[in-house]
Symmetry: C2
Subunit: 502 residues, 2 copies
C-alpha cells in the first residue's frame, strides 16, 4: 500500500516551498523537485518504457541522481544503480544482466553505451530531456510487492548478483530510518555515502517524507564535508567508517561550528573503538548511532543508539538491537537456535528482506529459506538481543564500505598464466577497516606490481589487493586440499581489536 511514490507526493502537498535539496549552488524546493521528477517520468514514458523496465544509472552524487532515485521506481520502472568504482567490464556485465534499456550517466561515451537503447547524459542531456517533457504522474497502480530496484553486489561465484528490492522492502527501511533517526521537517541530512549504495539512499525517503532537507556536499573531501556541515547547519548524516575517521581528524585539527549536528550514524564496515572515541570528542553534540545491515536487508537490520554512552561497556562491541519489525536469529548449521553468547550464522527476517537475486534462482534459494535471509555473517546475541559480529562465513572483505568477495579476486589472479596458487583475505587497516591481502605461489617468476597491473583492467580498484606477497612455500591446505585461508589470515588479526562493526 506504500510505495516509493508516497514520500514525494506527501512532501509536495504539505511543504511545496520548503527546501528539499541543496547541491552546490542549486537549491530545489519540493514543488520544483516534484515537477522535475514528474517531467523525468514523462520523458521516460515517452521513450516507450514499459512497466518494470530497467533504468541503470552510473553517476556521482548530485541532485539529479536523487531525482532519478525518487522517480524511476515511483513511475513503475526499476532502477539499477551501478558502482562508479566498477571497471568497465563490470558495468557492462550489470547492464547486460539486468537488460537495462536506459542509462543515466555523467560519464563520457564509452563502449557501455552500445548496450543500451537510450543514454541520458548528466547534466546537459538530462536537463534538455526534462525541459521538453510532458509531466507524468508518479505512483499510478503501483503495488508494494512490485520490484523497485536491482542493486548489484559482489557474488561468491565471482559474478555480481543483482539484489531485488521491492517497494515494500524499501518502505520498510524508510520506517526503520524514521524510527532511529527521528527526523523532522527541521532536519538537514548530509548525504555522505555514494547514492549507488544503500548507505547513500538509506535516509532519502524518510527525509523526503518528513519534508526535511537533503544536503549534497561538493566532494567527499573532509574539508568540504565539514565546511558544508557548518554552512548549511546540517543536523544528521550517515558515514562509512573511513569517512567518519577522516571527518573526525579534520574537525579535531581545524574545528568548525558543528553544533547543529545531532545525529552521526555510521555503518557498513568494521570500525575501531578508538575512532569512535575521537568522533565523540570532535562532535560532542551528536548522538553516535551504529547501524548494521546488508544490501539484501534494504539495508538496516540492527541499530545501536547512543553508542557514545556505551564506549566503556561490553555493549560497545555490538552493532545493536534488531530494527523495529526486523527479526534477528543466530543458528548453528543444523538450524538450531543458539543461546545468548553462542556463535552461529546471523539470519534476518522482516518486510525489509529481499525477494532474491535477479535471474539467480539457485543463489536465491541458498540465501533465503522460510523468509529468513542467511547473511553469511557469524555472530552472537547477548541477553538483550544485541547482535555482535565475529566473522564471516562467506569469504567477503569489507574495505572502505565496499564488499569484496575474495573468490572474485582470486579468480582474476588465477587467470594470470604465472600464478599457481592464490589466496586473498582481509587484514586490519586503520583507514579502510580492512584491506585486501593476497598470497601468491607463482609457477614462474612474477612481481606483485605485474599482478596488480593485470588486475587493473579486470576489476574495480577497490578489489585489487593492497599488498601481494609472492612466496615459494605451498599454501596450507586441508585434508581435502582446500586452502586454509583462516590460517594465513590469523597472524594479522591476533593482535588486533577484532571488533567488526558492520
Amino acid at each position: 500500500m506504500q510505495t516509493l511514490a508516497d514520500p514525494l507526493e506527501h512532501a509536495r502537498l504539505t511543504a511545496a516551498h520548503s527546501e528539499a535539496i541543496v547541491c552546490g549552488s542549486d537549491r530545489l524546493d519540493y514543488q520544483t523537485l516534484w515537477s522535475r521528477c514528474g517531467r523525468l517520468a514523462g520523458y521516460l514514458a515517452g521513450l516507450g518504457l514499459q512497466r518494470g523496465d530497467r533504468v541503470a544509472i552510473v553517476a556521482a552524487n548530485c541532485h539529479r541522481y536523487l531525482e532519478a532515485y525518487l522517480t524511476v521506481s515511483a513511475a513503475g520502472y526499476i532502477i539499477v544503480p551501478l558502482n562508479t568504482r566498477s571497471a568497465l567490464a563490470e558495468l557492462e556485465y550489470a547492464v547486460v544482466d539486468s537488460q537495462a534499456r536506459v542509462l543515466l550517466t555523467d560519464r563520457e561515451p564509452s563502449s557501455l553505451d552500445a548496450l543500451l537503447e537510450h543514454v541520458i547524459r548528466l547534466p546537459d542531456g538530462y536537463e534538455q530531456a526534462i525541459a521538453e517533457a510532458e509531466p507524468a504522474r508518479l505512483g499510478v497502480d503501483l503495488h508494494e510487492d512490485d520490484l523497485a530496484g536491482i542493486f548489484y553486489t559482489g557474488g561468491t561465484t565471482g559474478k555480481a548478483k543483482g539484489v531485488m528490492l521491492t517497494h515494500r522492502n524499501l518502505m520498510a527501511n524508510t520506517w526503520t530510518a524514521l524510527s532511529w533517526g527521528r527526523p523532522t521537517h527541521d532536519d538537514r541530512f548530509l548525504i555522505m555515502a555514494p547514492l549507488f549504495h544503500l548507505a547513500g539512499t538509506c535516509s532519502v525517503l524518510a527525509t523526503v517524507w518528513v519534508t526535511g532537507t537533503q544536503v549534497i556536499p561538493s566532494s567527499s573531501h573532509p574539508s568540504d564535508v565539514l565546511d558544508i556541515i557548518e554552512r548549511e547547519a546540517v543536523t544528521s548524516t550517515l558515514a562509512v567508517p573511513t569517512s567518519l575517521a577522516a571527518m573526525t581528524d579534520e574537525q579535531l585539527e581545524r574545528p568548525r561550528d558543528v553544533s547543529s549536528l545531532r545525529l552521526l550514524s555510521h555503518g557498513a564496515s568494521p570500525v575501531a573503538t578508538e575512532i569512535l572515541r575521537r568522533a565523540v570528542k570532535a562532535f560532542p553534540d551528536a548522538e553516535l548511532l551504529h547501524l548494521y545491515g546488508t544490501t539484501e536487508t534494504s539495508p538496516i537490520a540492527t541499530s545501536l543508539p547512543h553508542e557514545e554512552l556505551l564506549l566503556d561497556t561490553p555493549a560497545a562491541r555490538s552493532c545493536g538491537y534488531p530494527a523495529l519489525g526486523v527479526q534477528v536469529r543466530v543458528l548453528d548449521f543444523d538450524g538450531v537456535v543458539m543461546a545468548p553468547g553462542e556463535v552461529g550464522e546471523v539470519l534476518i527476517r522482516g518486510a525489509n528482506v529481499t525477494k532474491g537475486y535477479w535471474n539467480k534462482p539457485d543463489e536465491t534459494a541458498a540465501a533465503l529459506r522460510d523468509g529468513w535471509y542467511h547473511t553469511g555473517d557469524l555472530g552472537y546475541l547477548d541477553d538483550e538481543s544485541r547482535l555482535y559480529l565475529v566473522d564471516r562465513l562467506k569469504d567477503m572483505v569489507v574495505t572502505g564500505g565496499e564488499n569484496v568477495y575474495t573468490v572474485e579476486v582470486e579468480n582474476v589472479l588465477y587467470s594470470h598464466p604465472k600464478v599457481a596458487e592464490a589466496a586473498v583475505f582481509g587484514v586490519p587497516d586503520v583507514k579502510w577497516g580492512e584491506s585486501l591481502y593476497a598470497v601468491v605461489v607463482p609457477r614462474d617468476e612474477v612481481s606483485p606490481e605485474e599482478l596488480i597491473e593485470f588486475c587493473r583492467d579486470r576489476i574495480a580498484g577497490f578489489k585489487i589487493p593492497k599488498q601481494i606477497e609472492v612466496t615459494s612455500e605451498p599454501l596450507p591446505k586441508s585434508g581435502a586440499g582446500k586452502i586454509l585461508k583462516r590460517q594465513l589470515r590469523e597472524p594479522f588479526w591476533s593482535e588486533h581489536d577484532t571488533r567488526i562493526g558492520n
Copy 2:
C-alpha cells in the same frame, strides 16, 4: 509481515527488565508482561478457542486490559473492546453481533454472561486463569491482513457497527504514532483515554515497540492525573478535550511539577482555542499535538504538530497534515476533487483504513469506495494540505470524545408513545465540546424528565440528551417532509467559535 505480536516480542527480547506498565501499585517489566500474556494466550487456547474467534472485553483501564489487548489478537483471535458506558442492551447487541465466545470483564455477573461460553472475571478469575495456564507462543502464522479487532461505533441506522481492523491497519497506526510521537525507550506514556476507544490504545503498540513505559492512573480525576504525571515523570499523553480542559484547570489552580511532559496530544472531539491557550500556560514544556481520525482509520488520519506555536494563525483551526502513508482528499458529491479552500466530504485512504463493517456489506460498500473511506465529515484543505473540518454529513455528535448518531437517540424518543416528532442535534458545550439537545413535539403531555427516564434503560448515559425542549410548534421541514435539523441547530452555533477540532 508485521502483526500485533511484534512489538511485545521485540520489547521482551531487547528490554526484558525495563518497566513496561505502572498501574496502581503494580509494576510490570517486559519479561513479566510477556510471560503473563503468553499464559493468557495459553489459557484461551485451553478453552478450545479457534483462530479468528472473538473475545470481548468490558472493563475499566488497568494493566490486565492492556495485557488482553496485547495478547488476544497476537494469539490469532479477535478482540472486541466494548464501551463501559453502554447500556446493558447495547453490550448484549455487540456480543451477539460479534458472536463472541469469551468475555473478560470486571463487572458483576449479569444477563450478559449467559450469551457467552466463557466469562473471565477481572481481577481474581483472570489471575487464577493465567496462574495455572501453560504459556502459548504469540504471533504464530499470523498474516498482516488477518482481522485483529472489531471496534463498535454508533451506527447511522441506529444499530452499532463493528469496525473491522486488521493487523496491517493497527500496525500502520503504530508507525504513525512512532512518527508523530517519536517515542523512545525513555518515554513514559500516560494512558488517559479509555482502552475500549482507539484513542486509549492509539500509542500502546508504539510505546511497547520502543520499550517505553505505560502509566495507568488510578482514576481519570484531574487531581489523580496530575499527581501521577508528577510522581511518575510522565513524558507524553493523549487526552480527549474534556480531559485536556480538566487537567489544565487543575494544573493552573494547584500546580504540580509537570516539566517532564514533552508531548501533550489531543483529539477525538471539537476543542475551543481558549482551552488550548490555557493548556499552553499550564504545560509550558509540552508540545501540543492535534490529532484527527476515526475508528475506521485505526484511528489517526491527520496531525498538527507544535500547535502551540500556531494558536495565533489561521492554521490553528486545522486538524493538520495527513499522517505519513495516509492520503486525504476532499470531494464534492459528483466525485470531483475540490480545490484548496473549497468544502466537500473528507475521504481517507491508506494502510490504516478498515476492511469494513462486521456483517454489514451494505454499510461497508457505502463507506468504502476504491479504498477510500468516506468519513462523512465536511471539510477543506488549504494550500499546504492541512485539513479543516467544518461540519458533519452524518448526523453525528461528538460529546466528551464519544460519537453519538442522533438517529439512534431519535429512534428511542420516537418509541415513546407520547412523542409525535423528535429531532436531536449537538449544541456547543464548554465541558463536553458538544452536548445533545432534543426538540420534541408531543402527541400528549409529556415532561423532559419522563423522556430522559425513558431513555435511561435503552441507551448509554452519554447518548441521553442533556436538554429536551418540548414544543407544540411543528418542526421545520423540507419540501419532501424531512425535518430541517440544521435550521433548529443554527441559532445555538451562530455566535459560537465553530472550530471543530475532532
